[in-house]
């Protein structure tokens, strides 16, 4: 669903032609960063010199906490892993978690938003109250609670990624819900909806055929910005020790947590590289999201220039 929308809205060239000057630079920078990220994630096993949990080669153990060298471009960690390999494999984990969580958020948030906005009455009131409560909850704490519940305190490879993804999903469903609901409320009294009803279309059909296609305009923007947020939440979970077992998958936040002591000892390579990876990916997605926002909704330019995370009430 999302990809279809994006493909229709994002025929690259057309979008680029709508931008100019600084905006175009922003968009291209963002797209390049995202493209590199996806490329690295896809080809991590080919690009990485070693495995993600490998700490010896040819029966020779790697020396822990060694600075960058010809063998280990980004140095080695306290557990003797190759930092470069972990950074590269980390992209894979991040992309998987984003993909799962964005898909789940769309699948849950969009139908609920449609239902709430279109049907209204008590369903709307209840859902809005619940979503507002979830939205008001500090997102990291919510993610922690959910990941405890899903993972039950332990985490395997897929289980860890899944629990992180579900935790992130719960955090972002309210945003999709809110946007879709408000847009639905705005368009449901349009004449074309009445027309559809007169021709005998069922409520479900009206909701998903007629209204959905008219409220999805801002979804690509939310998707990109949430994807950026999702990486930050994933990293934060990992940083607090709630991510994925280090032998199962590489995760930047977890590696940063392990690098905390290194920092106090002046060892910089274990933190700088994974940290920079997070910053670049989040930056890329945020830049794409903002350019999309400005080009897709030129009228909303000043209104939405903050981030989708900000309340719609900002300038009311």
């Amino acid at each position: 669903m999302a990809t279809a929308v994006q493909r229709r809205r994002l025929p690259g060239a057309e979008l680029l032609s709508k931008t100019s000057g600084l905006q175009r630079v922003t968009l291209i920078t963002g797209l390049v960063l995202v493209a590199v990220f996806v490329f690295v994630a896809a080809f991590a096993p080919l690009l990485a010199p070693y495995g993600l949990a490998q700490n010896s080669a040819d029966d020779v153990a790697f020396v822990p906490q060694q600075g960058p060298s010809a063998e280990h471009w980004f140095g080695t960690s306290v557990r003797s892993e190759d930092v470069l390999s972990r950074v590269l494999f980390g992209a894979r984990t991040a992309l998987l978690v984003i993909a799962i969580s964005v898909t789940l958020s769309l699948l849950i948030g969009v139908p609920l938003g449609l239902l709430s906005g279109f049907v209204g009455r008590w369903i709307d009131k209840t859902l809005v109250l619940i979503m507002d409560a979830v939205y008001a909850f500090p997102s990291l704490l919510l993610a922690i609670v959910v990941s405890i519940v899903v993972a039950g305190g332990t985490s395997s490879s897929l289980g860890g990624m899944l629990s992180a993804a579900i935790a992130i999903t719960v955090v972002y469903v309210p945003q999709y819900f809110r946007v879709v609901r408000n847009a639905t409320v705005a368009v449901k009294t349009e004449p074309y909806v009445d027309a559809a009803r007169v021709t005998g279309a069922s409520t479900t059909r009206i909701m998903f055929r007629h209204i959905l296609s008219n409220v999805t305009g801002s979804l690509p923007v939310i998707v990109t910005i949430n994807a950026a947020d999702a990486i930050l939440t994933l990293a934060a979970l990992g940083f607090l020790g709630f991510g994925i077992e280090p032998t199962q998958a590489a995760e930047w936040g977890y590696d940063l947590n392990k690098a905390l002591n290194d920092v106090s000892n002046g060892i910089w390579w274990t933190s700088i590289f994974p940290g920079t990876a997070i910053v670049l990916v989040v930056l890329g997605m945020t830049l794409v999201g903002e350019s999309l926002d400005e080009t897709l909704n030129p009228l909303l330019r000043t209104r939405r220039a903050v981030t989708s995370a900000d309340k719609e009430t900002v300038d009311e």
Binding site: A133, A136, A236, F239, F242, I278, V282, V306, K311
Partner: protein, 346 residues
């Protein structure tokens, strides 16, 4: 336009309704946390899974009252909550005590963080708005995005690496030097907000020590929301500068500087207060990470410790408490906005 009297009535009614809305919100949050933690898995097995035999787990569950019907537990939890009883940690501390003691430290950190956020965001946002579309505006906007893109703990680690380890300007972590912290244990009345404790103690070097420890964590946390403030001030200032009353002020012959400073900035701050509600939630989340990074022994640091020890009853209590604080703060924010912004409709 309505008269002043009816506006006041409407305002009171709005505040009252908003106040009453906290209750279901808070109740919902506490309930969700409770059931998430209990129904799907019980805290003891989750904590001790693999480390204890089934019998030992059963004994512990018995002791913690987890074998009784879930609704009985829920009822006790809610009534306990109303009496300020959040339950006990595995090492038998009252969670309400933990929350009060360490909450003060977190409050202090968030306060410093907000201070940095305002100090960075407002003037730079104003500068960016008045220099719109110049290279410096572009640079500031990019920096704001960068501040958003960098995880607070990575920024914290960078600051630590550069300013404590390499340059040696600031301490590596903690809220104060060990001797200062020990000395401040004896100050009375003890607030556990160290800067206040240090002032009460009356030793200037202690105050300085506490401040030195606060700088890096405050900057790390402050940059997190400072970028958001910058963009909000910029966007709203640009909008306000276009509005009629600014034109009118200009027409009266006031200089741009006065118009911006006196009239526009004040109006551009209102949206900041609105977003403050969200920022407080963000700050508290950020505080958990900042405290872990800098070993700042506040509620977030404690929460991470309990998480690591798999003490989920303690986690549940702290999370529920933070949720309550967020619910109350968002009410306060709405109330402040309603009081100062005459355009808010109820």
């Amino acid at each position: 336009m309505r008269g002043g009297g009816s506006r006041q009535v409407a305002l009171l009614r709005y505040l009252l309704i908003r106040l009453l809305l906290i209750l279901p919100t808070a109740w919902l949050l506490v309930t969700v946390v409770f059931f998430l933690m209990r129904v799907i898995g019980d805290p003891i097995s989750a904590a001790m899974g693999g480390r204890l035999t089934q019998d030992q787990i059963e004994d512990r569950k018995e002791a913690a009252g987890l074998n009784r019907p879930i609704l009985t537990q829920y009822w006790e939890y809610i009534t306990g909550f109303l009496h300020g009883d959040f339950g006990r940690t595995q090492d038998n501390q009252a969670i309400s005590d933990v929350v009060i003691t360490y909450g003060a430290a977190t409050f202090e950190l968030v306060f410093w963080g907000l201070l940095v956020a305002f100090a960075v965001g407002v003037p730079l946002g104003r500068y960016a708005a008045t220099h719109r579309d110049t290279p410096s505006d572009a640079f500031l906007r990019f920096s704001a995005v960068l501040a958003y893109a960098a995880p607070v703990f990575f920024v914290g680690m960078l600051l630590k690496l550069i300013f404590s380890v390499w340059l040696g300007w600031f301490p590596v972590g903690g809220r104060a030097s060990t001797d200062v912290e020990l000395a401040l244990q004896h100050v009375s009345p003890k607030t556990n907000i160290l800067i206040i404790d240090a002032i009460l103690y009356g030793e200037p070097s202690y105050v300085l020590d506490v401040l030195e420890h606060a700088v890096l964590p405050a900057v790390a946390l402050g940059l997190l929301t400072g970028g958001i403030f910058l963009r909000l001030v910029r966007v709203n200032l640009i909008q306000t500068l276009r509005s009629d009353f600014v034109e009118a002020a200009r027409a009266r012959g006031l200089s741009t500087r006065v118009v911006t400073g006196r009239h526009a900035v004040r109006n551009a701050l209102i949206p900041i207060i609105t977003v403050m509600g969200m920022c407080i939630a963000m700050m508290l989340g950020g505080a958990v990470l900042t405290e872990t990074t800098f070993e700042w022994k506040g509620l977030g640091y404690q929460l991470a410790e309990y998480l690591r020890a798999r003490d989920f009853i303690a986690v549940q209590g702290i999370v529920a408490f933070i949720a309550l604080v967020v619910a109350v703060m968002s009410f306060v924010v709405d109330a402040v906005v309603a009081l100062i912004d005459p355009r808010v409709r109820f």
